[in-house]
Amino acid sequence: MTSLPVSRTNLANLVITSLRDVLEQSGRPLPATIDESTLLFGKGALLDSLALVTMVVDLEQRLEEEYGLALTLADDRAMSQRNSPFRSVGALVDYLEQLITEEHGRD
């Protein structure tokens, strides 16, 4: 298997940047630490659906601008995963890796 065009660390940083932005821009409090275990959406999580969709679209735009990756993160497939890719930062990074692997594998 060839290595992915974006490292896991970079992906996690991208997700965290988008998350910070959306929290700041919508006036929500920032937690003391944000890492892969931070819960995004669901019970006791940081975001409501509006903030989540804003973060996801923002992330899509950043992936395209910074890495030339045109990915659709929110679609029927993402919504029908047994474990939601939007439950935590780590789950979203996992899902991104999975999508990029598929995209990359097709080249």
């Binding site: 932005d21 700041e24 821009q25 919508s26 006036g27 659906s49 509006l50 989540l52 969709v53 804003t54 996801v56 679209v57 923002d58 735009q61 950043r62 601008e65 929110a74 679609d75 029927d76 993402a78 919504m79």
Partner: protein, 447 residues
């Protein structure tokens, strides 16, 4: 003669300028003389009652006098302009055009015959009635262009009531109900139509100054261009008495800025559809988006927040689509409105409403806020589907100066936070170089 009354009026105004074309005035007498020549030319070319004739041109003296002559000749007129060049063949086929008269930049014309028989039942019905007709194509900003067939007689009837004599700039062309309305309103009242070669704000403002234009019928998109170009600073626009705006929802912020700039000019919202004609309207005041619409020959009702209209001047139907009228002749305009007594406020086209998690967002309201941001030249707000919230609000911006996209996004959201409910704040923010309005200066909201 189907419009004898109009000819009588024109004879009264003989020496008064009827149109100004290429900065040159042409009096009513001149138009009447050209109409005489057109009657002879049409007879010579064997163009008679019931023929379907296209005018490819603008407000030149020859094109305008041909339009009037074709009405007197009881033909079906299909005005086309250069802005629809790409669809020309399609439109000629839909309307079953038999004769094309095209005008060049010097108002020289040539005539072309097409071997076409009229088969459309609606057109045939009008021909049997012995009345002149008018075919107008919808702009097709949403979906396929529809061809509305009008009986010209009821369409022109309302102009028999004498109204103001004004110098009016033509902003919309002959292929648009607004352009037709401006032309006949002006001619019926001895006014002057000032034609412009382009809809560039500087060109329009120069024409207002030069010809002391009193009335400017226009669109919110153009008024926004006027503001951002600052063309109004470079010309003397003191002759202006009335600015009318229609064809799309006016962003409130644009209206207020225009009112601040032109405190002595009356601002009037107009309302019309190519299927129905132009209703009479009265804005609550110049700074208000509340408007009363109706007038002689028009009835209105609101059903589930949507405006319906029944008009004496309504078209016979579409040549290429099912009738939009119900059994009693009412048409659903698809415009969602708020009601306050006799006044309505148009919120937007039903098809353009964005549904974010069950909550409705009207593009014009969001655009009105975004247009107030520094460095924003223009913006179009559209809905995009997204499985998380059903749809999201997407805003496409034109900027004056380039800006870092992520910085700009932050700025947009910060600006919106105190001004819009969270679900109305754009989720997707795009910066584009493309112009966002059509040739008719109407905002394009294609996703």
């Amino acid at each position: 003669m189907s419009i004898a009354w109009l000819r009588e009026r024109m004879e009264q105004f003989a020496d008064h300028p009827a149109i100004v074309w290429n900065d040159h005035p042409y009096p009513y007498r001149d138009l009447l003389a050209r109409m005489q020549a057109w009657h002879a030319a049409l007879d010579q070319h064997d163009v008679g009652p019931g023929h379907v004739v296209t005018i490819e041109g603008d407000y030149s003296p020859n094109a305008v006098s041909l339009l009037l002559t074709l009405i007197e000749h009881n033909t079906i007129v299909v005005p086309l302009t250069r802005s629809v060049a790409a669809q020309r063949d399609e439109f000629l086929a839909i309307a079953e055009v038999q004769v094309v008269v095209s005008f060049d930049d010097n108002d020289q014309w040539r005539i072309e015959r097409r071997a076409v028989a009229v088969t459309n039942p609606l057109t045939r019905q009008l021909i049997e009635r012995g009345h002149p007709g008018l075919v107008l194509f919808s702009s097709g900003s949403t979906g396929k262009s529809k061809a509305a067939l009008h009986d010209f007689i009821p369409l022109l009837e309302k102009f028999q009531v004498p109204r103001h004599r004004r110098v009016t700039l033509t902003f919309l062309l002959l292929d648009h109900i607004g352009g037709i309305n401006t032309l006949f309103y002006t001619l019926a009242n001895g006014g002057t139509v000032v034609a412009v070669q382009s809809r560039d704000p500087d060109v329009v403002c120069r024409a207002i100054e030069t010809h002391r234009v009193q009335t400017l019928p226009t669109s919110p998109t153009f008024l926004n261009l006027l503001l951002i170009s600052e063309a109004y600073r470079r010309y003397d626009l003191s002759s202006l008495e009335l600015i009318t705006y229609g064809t799309e929802v006016m962003p409130e912020s644009t209206l207020h800025r225009i009112h601040d700039l032109f405190p002595n000019v009356q601002l009037l919202q107009t309302y019309g559809l190519s299927e129905l004609g132009i209703l009479r309207s009265k804005s609550r005041d110049s700074n208000s988006l509340w408007v009363k619409v109706g007038g002689e020959g028009f009835e209105t009702k609101i059903v589930d927040g949507v405006l319906w209209v029944r008009a004496k001047s309504a078209m016979l139907g579409y040549l290429n689509a099912p009738s939009p009228f119900d059994e009693e002749g009412w048409m659903n305009t698809q415009d969602v409105v708020e009601v306050d007594g006799e006044y309505i406020r148009i919120l937007g086209r039903r098809s353009e409403i964005i549904n974010v998690g069950g909550q409705k967002v009207y593009p014009a309201e969001v655009e009105s806020v975004l247009l107030q941001m520094p460095n924003v030249k223009d913006v179009a707000v559209v809905g995009e589907s997204n499985p998380i919230t059903g749809q999201i609000v997407t805003a496409r911006f034109n900027l004056f100066e380039p800006e870092d996209p992520n910085e700009f996004k932050r700025r947009v959201r910060a600006f919106c936070r105190d001004r819009l409910a969270p679900y109305k704040i754009p989720v997707k923010i795009i910066i584009t170089e493309n112009e966002q309005h059509s040739a008719r200066f109407k905002k394009m909201r294609k996703a």
